[in-house]
Symmetry: C2
Subunit: 376 residues, 2 copies
C-alpha cells in the first residue's frame, strides 16, 4: 500500500448543517490515518466508474475494509450524459439488493459526475445516509466535492434535481491527478482560475507564475492550488450553505458555461472548458458595463487561454442563448442574474439589458463553421 | 367562497430545521386569513390528482392567486402505485416548462401520495423550494402531512427514496373530510388510533367513546382527533426530526403493515388498513413478550376492529414476511427492530427472536382462501 509522503494539508469546512475536513495530500487513498474517525457504519459502499475504479479502486476498497465490516462497490457509466435518474437508480438498486439500511455509508471515488450522483443518492436513500468524497479529478478536488451541492441533470436543464448534502469528509489524493488526461487537468484549472477574479487578487498573480508547473502536474503547485481553492470555497459556503445570497458568486462563468454545455449537448465540451469560456464572457461583460477595467478582463482571458481552455463560444444563436440561460437556477422571476466582477477580486449578481449581453456574446463567438465547436 | 365557521385550532411544530403551524378548521381552503404570512414567492404551483382537484381545486386556486403573481397546477395519477420516479418527473417537467426558479412554492392538495410526492419534489427541485401541505384525507391530516417525511417508492421497497423536508404550513380543512369515501375515513382512523397505545392512554378511552361520531363524520369529533394526533406527532418529531431515535415509535404497526402492502402489491390494501392490522400484530407481540397485559393488546384490537379495519393479515408465507420486513428502514444491520408497546401509552424499539414473531404472525393470519385478502 502507498505510504503518505507528508502530513496532509487540512481545510476545515464549517456550515450550519455540518462541520467537516478536507484533507489534501499524496497517498491518502491508501493512508489509514486519513480514514480514521468517520461515523460508525455497517456497510461501506464505494461508488465509482470503470475507468477510475481500474486505476484506484483496489486501493480505496482496501482502506474501506477498515471502516466497515461489510464493503461492496457499484460502478456507474462514465460521463455527464449519464448523470440522470436512470443511472442514479442503479445505485439504489445496489443498496437495496445488498440490504443496506441507514447505517450504510457511501464513498464517491471519481470526478464531479460520480460525486454529484453519489451525494444525491446519499441524500435520498432512506431519506439520508452519510457519504464521503474521494475526488480523483482536479475539478472535483477544487470545486464539486466541496460544499455539499449534489444533483442530477434533467433533459431541460443541468443539475435541476438535487440536494444540499454535506459529506462527512473529503480526501483529495493528489496522486490521482497524475493519471488524469491533460484535457481534464486543464478543465479543472478553469475552476481554480475562477476563485482569483471573484475573491483573491494575489491568487491571480500566483497562477500566472505557476501555470506552467500546474500544467506539468507539479505536486507542490497542485497542493497549493487545491488548498487555496478549497479555502476560498469553504469560506463562501460556510456563510451561505443553501445559496440564498453570496454563494452564487461561485457560479462565475457558469451561466454562460451551462448554456454552452446544454446548447451543444452535455459532454461535447467538458464542464471546465465551458466555464473557462463563460468566465471570459462574464469578465468581458463586467468591463463592458464599466465595473472593472478592460485590462482586468483581459488578464482573466489571457490566463484562461494560457491554460489551454477555449476563450471563444460556439455559435448558439441569440434566442437559444437566452432561452438556455433563463432556466439557470440563479434566474429569478424570469430575469437572468449574471455573476459579474465589480472590482478585481470581487463579484456581484446583477441583471443586465439583453442587448448588452447579446453584443458581448457576439464578440466572443466563433464564426459558425462545421465541426469548429470542439476545443482542441 | 366558503367562509370559516370558527377560529381554526393551531398546533405549532418546532423542529431544528423549521418552525411552522398546522391550522385545523372548516373552510380553510377558502379562508384568506389561513393563507397569509407565507414566504414571498413568484409562482405558486398546485399539485393534486384529478379526483381531489375536481372537488377542491378551484377553491384552492382562488386562494393561491392571493399568494403569488403567477399560479398553475399539475395533476398526478391517483394512487400509491404511481408514487414513483416517473410520476415525480411530471412535476419537474411542469416546473421547468413554466420556467419556475427557486422563488416558486409548491402546494400539495390531496392525500398522502400527493403530499409525499410534492414534498419530495420540493426538496429536490433546484435543490429545494418551499412547499405547503393542504391534506384532504384524514390519514394525511393526522399523519403524513406533518413532520416533513417525504418519499417515493422503489420497486424493492416503500418510501425508500426521499428526504426530510418540512413544509411552510399545513392547512387541515375539515370540510374535505366530508367528501372522503368511508373506506378512506376508516383507514385514516388507523393512524389516529396509533397515537393512543404509544403515547396517550386517555386518548384510547376518548376514541372508544367517540368512534361512532368519528365514523359518522362529526366535525367537532374530527377536529379533536386531528388536533390530538398532530400534537402528539409534533412533540415526537420536534425532539427527533431525522428519526435517529424516538421518532421511530410513530411507525408502530408499520413494519408489519409495510410488509402487507408490499407483499400484496401496493394499492391492494389501503396504507391505513395495513397499519391497522399491523398494530394488532405488534400489540399482540408485545403481550406475547410480557411487555404489556394481554388485555391492553385486546383493547387495541377491539378498537381497530370497531373502526372497520382488518385485524387479520393475509397469508404471505413466513419467509416472505421476514424478507419484506428486513428492507424496512428501521432494520439495522440485518436485524429487524420492532416498535413494541412496553407499557400502556408507551412504546420502544426491540429485536425479537424470529420464531416468536412467526408464531404471533400465524395466530393473526387468515387461512389462505382465494380472494380473501381484500378488506371489505
Amino acid at each position: 500500500m502507498n505510504q503518505p509522503r507528508s502530513t496532509p494539508r487540512v481545510v476545515a469546512v464549517r456550515t450550519p448543517s455540518k462541520h467537516y475536513d478536507i484533507l489534501i495530500g499524496q497517498g491518502l487513498l491508501g493512508d489509514p490515518a486519513a480514514w480514521q474517525g468517520l461515523p460508525r457504519c455497517t456497510h461501506a459502499v464505494l461508488v465509482s466508474n470503470p475507468t477510475v475504479f481500474a486505476l484506484h479502486g483496489e486501493r480505496a476498497l482496501h482502506s474501506l475494509r477498515a471502516v466497515a465490516p461489510r464493503t461492496s462497490h457499484v460502478l456507474l457509466p462514465d460521463g455527464e450524459a449519464f448523470k440522470d435518474w436512470q443511472t442514479l437508480n442503479t445505485v439504489f438498486d445496489h443498496l437495496l439488493r445488498e440490504g443496506c439500511d441507514r447505517k450504510a455509508m457511501l464513498f464517491a471515488l471519481g470526478g464531479g459526475v460520480v460525486g454529484d450522483m453519489t451525494g444525491f443518492a446519499a441524500a435520498c436513500y432512506m431519506r439520508g445516509v452519510p457519504f464521503v468524497q474521494l475526488p480523483t479529478t482536479l475539478l472535483a478536488q477544487v470545486d464539486s466535492s466541496v460544499g455539499g451541492k449534489t444533483a442530477i441533470n434533467h433533459p431541460m436543464g443541468k443539475n435541476m434535481i438535487g440536494a444540499f448534502q454535506q459529506p462527512e469528509r473529503v480526501l483529495c489524493d493528489l496522486d490521482t491527478l497524475a493519471t488524469l488526461p491533460p484535457r481534464e487537468l486543464r478543465a479543472g484549472l478553469a475552476e481554480v482560475i475562477k476563485y482569483a477574479p471573484i475573491a483573491d487578487v494575489p491568487l491571480l498573480g500566483w497562477l500566472e507564475q505557476h501555470l506552467g508547473a500546474l500544467l506539468a502536474g507539479d505536486v507542490e503547485a497542485l497542493a497549493e492550488a487545491v488548498q487555496r481553492s478549497c479555502e476560498i470555497k469553504a469560506a463562501v459556503v460556510g456563510g451561505d450553505e443553501r445559496e440564498s445570497g453570496r454563494r452564487a458568486i461561485l457560479n462565475f462563468g457558469h451561466t454562460f458555461g451551462h448554456a454552452i454545455e446544454a446548447g451543444l449537448g452535455y459532454g461535447e465540451w467538458l464542464h471546465g472548458e465551458a466555464v473557462g469560456c463563460g468566465m471570459v464572457i462574464a469578465a468581458s461583460l463586467s468591463a463592458e458595463l464599466g465595473l472593472v477595467p478592460a485590462a482586468w478582463a483581459e488578464r482573466v482571458e489571457r490566463l484562461v487561454d494560457r491554460a489551454g481552455l477555449p476563450v471563444r463560444a460556439p455559435d448558439l444563436c441569440e434566442d437559444r442563448w437566452f432561452e438556455l440561460m433563463a432556466v439557470d437556477k440563479k434566474a429569478e422571476a424570469g430575469d437572468i442574474r449574471y455573476v459579474l466582477l465589480d472590482a478585481p477580486g470581487s463579484a456581484t449578481l446583477r441583471t443586465v439589458p439583453r442587448a448588452t449581453v447579446a453584443a458581448v456574446l457576439r464578440r466572443h463567438t466563433v464564426a459558425p463553421r462545421a465541426g469548429a465547436t470542439q476545443p482542441a
